[in-house]
């Protein structure tokens, strides 16, 4: 007890320098991670609020809560905020920033000042986007399809495009920082195949972001130029091709969705071994599968355009590669599951989220197989089937992984434990609320309910009511962690350096860690990653 108090009074990254300015000007990757956590939480609840309004509107087949025009703005802003201001930056910005240097045994990332600049650029992009929102919103859908977005929409398209463009720089700089850090700053003895899979997945993720984000940037520039100068780059009357926009947009956006799920997979790959007290099964397979997803993810963009007017032969190629990219994801799921076999399974909250992730990501991934099938996609494209598919992966997958990761590393980040009972209850509420929200949407989609409809035929109402009920429950499930995690920051019990008895390098420091992570650069002597066996004594495991 006295030791714990004494440890807490020691200097760590939280208390070493105090005051708002010391946070806003900090180049410490851990503090920057916390800055990101604050921002993306705000954006998550903003995007979530729009979703709640949409679901309320959809309770009735007719427009009752908002007008059609407002509904169109709601789904657009929900998409823009969730994709670019939550899903893409969340795990890299928060957990990635905090953990990557610690996991490779470094004191910080390669370019700490650039890291801080990244956050400011992210906030600038967010500000411009919120400005577009306040001025009146955007109604093009987060996909900005032309010619509607360039020649017909009367909303703040350029402002929103500029906001996203700016946020893209933040993404690129963070990804660049990670790639260089992982390449150059590993502790002595830490070879590639001893790295945690979290690092492999974040590395692959960063490479994807470096290559795809610039394409989005230039596509948004072209939209802005077309709107401002009225020169029809995508206007057919002036020789332009609106389908070219789709190719360029999806060339970015398909790899982008992998950048939303790879970080989630990174987190799960860490939680499962620790909470099974077993090394990750098939380590090399899982590590390489991240790279495979990154590479193959660039070859499938046309599967968003099977009915858009692309040739049959293009469609065949994209369908084929879409099936190929499903294989590495399947490999991960099987390896995670096998890791649990003959393990020592804890039912702590991070593990509940991880197990939930595996189940829900599997369903989401399987429905991807339906969409990759050409003959089937014709029917379900642009229906609620697609919406259900990607929410299973993004929300049932990434958000659950994010919550699991936050709970797992919370003791390290804050030095405190969260209340376990309440946390498990929240996880259950999230799981149930999520399924009630999105499973009916598969049925709605196959029945033919199109996307982005504010009003709909009466026969779809029952399923919409179920979905909205689920959304309300899901909302509660998200608010609870916000509350108890904040509470535990000051009132939770002290966690100690390694409450989970995990083998990773990040657990070798105190909780919270000192500003420089390690007093002395650690030297890695174990021959394997997740070396529970070699660390039996240290972790007091039997």
């Amino acid at each position: 007890m006295i030791e714990a108090v004494a440890e807490k009074l020691e200097k760590n990254y939280l208390n070493e320098k105090q005051g708002l300015l010391s946070w806003l000007l900090s180049t410490d990757h851990k503090r920057i991670g916390i800055l990101y956590t604050f921002s993306i939480t705000c954006f998550f609840f903003l995007g979530g609020f729009f979703a709640l309004l949409m679901r309320l509107e959809l309770l009735s087949p007719r427009n009752w809560l908002v007008s059609a025009g407002t509904y169109n703005k709601l789904f657009t802003m929900h998409g823009i905020i969730m994709v670019w201001f939550f899903l893409i930056p969340s795990i890299p910005g928060t957990l990635g920033n905090f953990l990557i240097p610690m996991m490779v045994g470094a004191k910080d990332v390669a370019f700490p000042k650039l890291n801080l600049l990244s956050w400011y650029i992210f906030m600038l992009g967010g500000t411009v986007t919120v400005y577009a929102l306040i001025r009146g919103g955007v109604d093009t859908g987060w996909t900005f399809y032309t010619p509607f977005s360039t020649s017909y929409s009367t909303t703040y398209v350029v402002a929103a495009a500029v906001g996203v463009f700016i946020a893209g720089f933040s993404t690129i700089l963070t990804a660049l920082n990670f790639v260089v850090t992982i390449h150059r700053m590993r502790a002595p003895g830490l070879t590639w195949f001893k790295l945690p899979v979290f690092i492999w997945s974040m590395y692959a993720n960063s490479l994807v972001l470096i290559l795809n984000t610039p394409v989005l940037a230039i596509t948004l520039v072209m939209i802005a130029v077309e709107r401002i100068a009225k020169v029809g780059i995508f206007d057919p009357a002036l020789g332009g091709d609106p389908v070219l926009f789709q190719h360029m947009f999806w060339f970015y956006s398909h790899p982008a969705v992998y950048t939303m799920v790879l970080p989630g997979m990174a987190v799960i790959s860490e939680i499962i071994p620790v909470f099974s007290r077993k090394p990750l099964f098939g380590y090399k397979a899982v590590a390489f599968s991240s790279v495979a997803i990154a590479v193959l993810g660039f070859l499938v963009w046309g599967h968003h355009m099977f009915v858009a007017g692309e040739s049959v032969y293009s469609a065949l190629t994209f369908s084929f590669f879409s099936y190929c990219v499903a294989v590495p994801s399947a490999i991960k799921v099987f390896n995670w599951t096998a890791t649990m076999h003959k393990g020592s399974i804890s039912w702590d909250t991070p593990m509940l989220y991880a197990i939930g992730f595996i189940g829900l990501f599997t369903i989401g991934g399987m429905t991807g197989l339906f969409l990759a099938a050409l003959g089937l996609d014709v029917h379900v494209h642009d229906t609620y089937f697609v919406i259900a598919h990607f929410h299973y992966i993004m929300v049932g997958g990434t958000v659950m992984a994010f919550l699991g990761g936050v709970h797992y590393w919370w003791p390290k980040i804050s030095g405190k434990m969260y209340p376990e009972g309440l946390a498990r209850l929240s996880a259950l509420i999230v799981f149930l609320g999520f399924n009630l929200t999105f499973f009916p949407q598969f049925v709605l989609g196959f029945l033919g309910m199109p996307r982005r409809y504010a009003a709909y035929p009466e026969e779809f109402q029952m399923l919409h009511v179920l979905s909205t009920a689920g959304a309300t429950i899901l909302g509660v499930g998200y608010v609870l962690p916000l509350c108890y995690l904040l509470w535990s920051w000051n009132h939770g019990r002290d966690a100690g350096p390694n409450p989970w008895r995990a083998p990773g390098l990040e657990w070798k420091s105190t909780s919270p860690p000192p500003t420089h992570n390690f007093e002395v650069t650690p030297v890695v002597t174990s021959k394997l990653p997740y070396d529970f066996e070699a660390m039996k004594e240290e972790l007091e495991l039997v």
Partner: protein
């Protein structure tokens, strides 16, 4: 005893070796993003050129091949002076470094001056889409598309040149206060990399905008 500057190990690095390689790797990764950004524009240009070959040939014929070629020559020269600057930095010849960096900037400014002249020329010939574009003939809309790409792509390139000039100014000031030496000249190498990349992009721009019209 080596120059104190060389031994300045930044806080977050464990060894000097780590520090040295990092900036280089960072610049290469950054250039990959630039490649993808310009690449997107090149792809869109290629699609439209394939769709409207005559219009694009017509647009290209309006380009000033003389000015374009002169610009290419001088930009290549600036890469040469930049390369010599990098060499001077490696050899610790600080005065020579300063001179060569300055020459590089002057050449860069000359390039931008000629580019600006070309832009004004196009404006006067009513070839500035969105501002003053007036063209008759069967292919007029697609010819405008050619010029849209011309202005966006060379404009983006010019922005990169301006940023490069500021970076070199930064190098000159660092050199003047003595923080560069034979042991520590990393900033010169990475700015050099950036400058050469921008130069290579221009070569491709020259090829796609100025050369197709030569047939006419």
């Amino acid at each position: 005893m080596s120059d104190p500057v060389a031994l300045e190990l930044r806080e977050h690095f464990a060894t000097v070796e780590q520090q040295r390689g990092t900036a280089d790797t960072g610049m290469w990764v950054f250039l990959m993003t630039e490649l993808m950004m310009f690449g997107g524009l090149f792809v869109a240009y290629t699609v439209y050129r394939f769709n409207h070959p005559q219009a694009f040939a017509e647009g290209s014929a309006s380009m000033d091949i003389m000015l374009g070629s002169v610009n290419s020559a001088i930009l290549l020269t600036s890469s040469l002076t930049m390369g010599f600057a990098e060499l001077s930095a490696k050899l610790g010849r600080q005065r020579l470094l300063g001179i060569l960096l300055l020459v590089t900037i002057l050449i860069g400014l000359a390039f931008l001056g000629i580019k600006f002249t070309e832009y004004v020329e196009h404006y006067q010939q009513h070839e500035a889409p969105g501002v003053w574009f007036n063209r008759s003939g069967p292919h007029a809309p697609a010819v405008q598309m050619f010029f849209v790409f011309y202005f966006i792509m060379t404009g983006l390139h010019a922005v990169h040149m301006i940023i490069g000039i500021f970076l070199i100014l930064g190098l000159i000031s660092r050199n003047m206060i003595g923080s560069l030496s034979a042991a520590y000249h990393t900033p010169v190498s990475i700015v050099g990399l950036y400058w050469h990349f921008v130069d290579i992009v221009w070569i491709f721009l020259y090829a796609i905008f100025y050369l197709p019209g030569l047939h006419k």
